[in-house]
Symmetry: C2
Subunit: 478 residues, 2 copies
């Protein structure tokens, strides 16, 4: 099935009017905050602040109504109370506006008849007048290439991850988590109640969007189940698709209704549909990014057999358990391979040359690099995981740890170009403020050099297992 | 059953000799690092460095042998190669040493006949000569009250958590994780191969140790199953006991043998034994501390019904799911209670007054405090969880977030004394470097004021569920 790009206009408006910008920037002023976010991300078109009281903000005139704006207006952001929104829709139709994003909440998601009535009223008006609605009750769009943003501190870099989110907070979190790990976005839609444009509309759009190579989503429930499921099957056939479906518990489902009117549905049914469609199911926002990192940076694995190597006997036992628990294999190395490695070292004391491998130290950097190459050649395994445990070194001072990690990073940079297996790095367990800082800087460096890096054993194991399963499923003829 | 304090001498030696201190402090010099750790923790007795080459270190004479030390010696730390250890044991017996801690590795844990033979030799010699052995292949003891440490940067504060660990790295990690969250230790033993003193000896000691109120452990396998299980039952009847049992997978069990010679055993059997004995089973080092924090700081809950309150609709859905998934109840609030709360606020728009509760903002601090008090009085719930989501606020700049969290902390400090229900705080999802710093400082402040605080929804949910289950099980007559 082919989908059309008829929602492209949402992401590249030339002019934006923001309704509900108050002159007072000292108190929480959502209208002004959207203005600020657009200016910070570098929106190239014209911005028109609006407020019935008029006035000025940052030297810009605040218009009292849409019709007074001496320009065409493509896109309206509404930060006004719900009761004024029907008038705004009427004015937008008259002005030829193409889309309105309603940040405004207080519609069907609250338990009151008036909220539901208001939502019907604006949606009916908009549909009759040819204006599309984003929301209501949402943060709207982040799209660096179109200069749209819902936050003052998001990246201007165009990425290739497209996101649909029924929660603005979780969209904001996902984008922050991504940016922090060098994962950038093409288009992110916080869609709230989805009263006009819903999750199926956005999904169909992202399927055919050339800027989007990976589709991710936070889903509380869907309005048109069959349409969404059909689109999902098309999506996964073209792009890896990662969804975090919530509302799996009774109280979660109840919260979802109150949050965005979404009907969560049976989790078993959802799980079956996801499996059938080949969707990668994530169970947290962090996991969406963890799996994305693997998809973007790791080579395609031939199987599920992992070699794990690093420092620490206790860490090795935990790693072996965690990787096995998620369905990956941590096979014993062949005797001949083990002999090749053992022969590189003067003594076995303190070292473990099985799988996981415990180097004990990196002092002999040549041996480290030789070992990695020997492991990489080994045909009995499909992936390579290197780990570094920040708080597992008893005798080592924080200064020594800093020197050690910087030496380790140097070794990884030196050897990474020669590794042919899919490679991931785990930097785990940083408890104290000082190790945390060192770990953060090390993560940054590895992320920036395009390596798949994970902050804990469990997160690495889970992401890699979902990544491996995705490729195994893809290989199978459906 | 009553256990004796006959291992007390391990934790309070008056004099320590360290074998294997080299003059060269530039290269990795484990002997010197132990010396340094003892001096930094403030060991009050005398320290005698030893090395067959003699010389000086930091102005202190390096003795060439034990017999030359002009003082009695209570405790020896061995950082010499394995082949020299039989002689050290003989010298120690001659000198009247009470215990030797073997940091030295290269014994039964490596796959070579000589290692196994050497271990038998030193253990036999020591037992015949009346010297007890810690290890070999371990970091030994951290005990602030005795001035013992295996790391240069651990706290001097005497706590009440006693730990047994078959991994030095995981012991070091646990202590660091604890200290970072204001959890302090009475005695921590990294016991390695446990060839003389084993996990049962240390457990029996901790049961009767007055300094220890909570027992925790990292266990790869045990040598005397029946004895250990009997001791566990006594332990749990006197003190909460949290164990992280690893080697649950085939590769993990293999790694455990190579690491500390431990036979991991069937995980199903272990799980059954833990349930029978009332052990709290943790599945990570972090979780040991997470549960300890609940035990130390939360009041005893009457049941498993949780009220969750904070900001964020999407966060609320995730919280409800995660708390439900671990077996806690997130009940709907009664209509009369909901009415009392709704009446406090001017409008419902953007807020959710069910459970979880989404305040939307804390602007009206009086209302926040009034709401918390109303929730605390509610008889339909047993625990209260407040949460703060750092990266869930789209429109908010980092500066605004900082102001918001500081205002929030102030509100919590203001209201905490009046809360009668067990209380936990979750500060979740900090993706960027700047939110991480703010979150870290906020965590510190809450930890220092004695509140149970968790860095993610899942960790909070899991710790609270294990804490609740512990108290439910304790109430039941066994």
């Amino acid at each position: 099935m082919k989908y059309s790009n008829d929602l492209d206009f949402l992401f590249h408006p030339a002019t934006i009017a923001i309704s509900g910008v108050s002159e007072d920037i000292k108190k929480f002023n959502a209208g002004y905050k959207f203005m600020d976010a657009l200016m910070k991300i570098g929106f190239k078109g014209k911005i028109y602040p609006m407020n019935p009281g008029g006035g000025e903000i940052n030297g810009m005139k605040i218009y009292t109504s849409l019709k007074d704006i001496p320009d065409k207006v493509d896109y309206v952001i509404s930060a006004i109370p719900a009761r004024y929104t029907p008038q705004l829709v009427e004015d937008s139709i008259a002005k030829g506006v193409k889309a309105i994003h309603f940040f405004t909440s207080g519609f069907s998601e609250i338990e009151n008849v008036e909220g539901k009535r208001l939502q019907s009223e604006i949606i009916n008006k908009a549909r009759n007048g040819g204006v599309r609605i984003i929301g209501p009750n949402c943060l709207g769009i982040y799209c660096p290439s179109g200069g749209l943003s819902f936050s003052p501190d998001l990246s201007t870099i165009n990425g290739n991850v497209g996101m649909i989110s029924q929660s603005g907070g979780n969209a904001a979190h996902c984008v922050q988590e991504g940016i922090d790990r060098n994962v950038f976005f093409s288009k992110v839609v916080s869609m709230g109640n989805g009263a006009d444009l819903n999750e199926s509309d956005y999904l169909e759009y992202l399927i055919q969007d050339n800027e989007t190579k990976i589709i991710v989503g936070y889903i509380e429930g869907v309005r048109e189940g069959l349409r969404f499921f059909k689109a999902l099957k098309v999506a996964t056939s073209e792009k890896p698709t990662i969804l975090f479906k919530v509302g799996t518990s009774e109280s979660g489902a109840r919260a979802a209704i109150s949050h965005t009117t979404a009907l969560a549905g049976s989790d078993q049914v959802w799980d079956g549909l996801f499996k059938q469609a080949g969707v990668i199911r994530a169970v947290s926002i962090e996991e969406i990014i963890d799996v994305t990192v693997a998809l973007q940076r790791m080579k395609v694995p031939k199987g599920n057999r992992v070699i794990i190597a690093g420092i620490g006997g206790g860490a090795s036992v935990i790693l072996a358990d965690e990787f096995s628990n998620v369905g990956l294999a941590v096979p014993m190395l062949s005797d001949s391979l083990r002999k090749r490695i053992i022969d590189l070292y003067p003594s076995e004391a303190g070292r473990i040359f099985k799988n996981p491998i415990d180097f004990n130290d990196f002092e002999t950097s040549d041996n480290f690099i030789k070992t990695i190459k020997v492991l990489d050649e080994y045909e009995g395994a499909d992936l390579l995981v290197l780990h570094f445990a920040f708080d597992h070194f008893g005798l080592i001072s924080i200064k020594d740890k800093e020197a050690m990690i910087s030496f380790y990073l140097q070794l990884i940079q030196q050897v990474k170009g020669e590794i042919t297996k899919p490679l991931a790095i785990i930097l785990h367990s940083y408890a104290s403020d000082s190790t945390r800082k060192i770990a953060y800087n090390a993560m940054k460096e590895l992320n920036q050099s395009g390596l798949a890096v994970y902050p804990s054993i469990r997160r690495g194991a889970v992401a890699i297992s979902k990544f491996v399963r995705y490729h195994q499923q893809k290989k199978r003829p459906s």
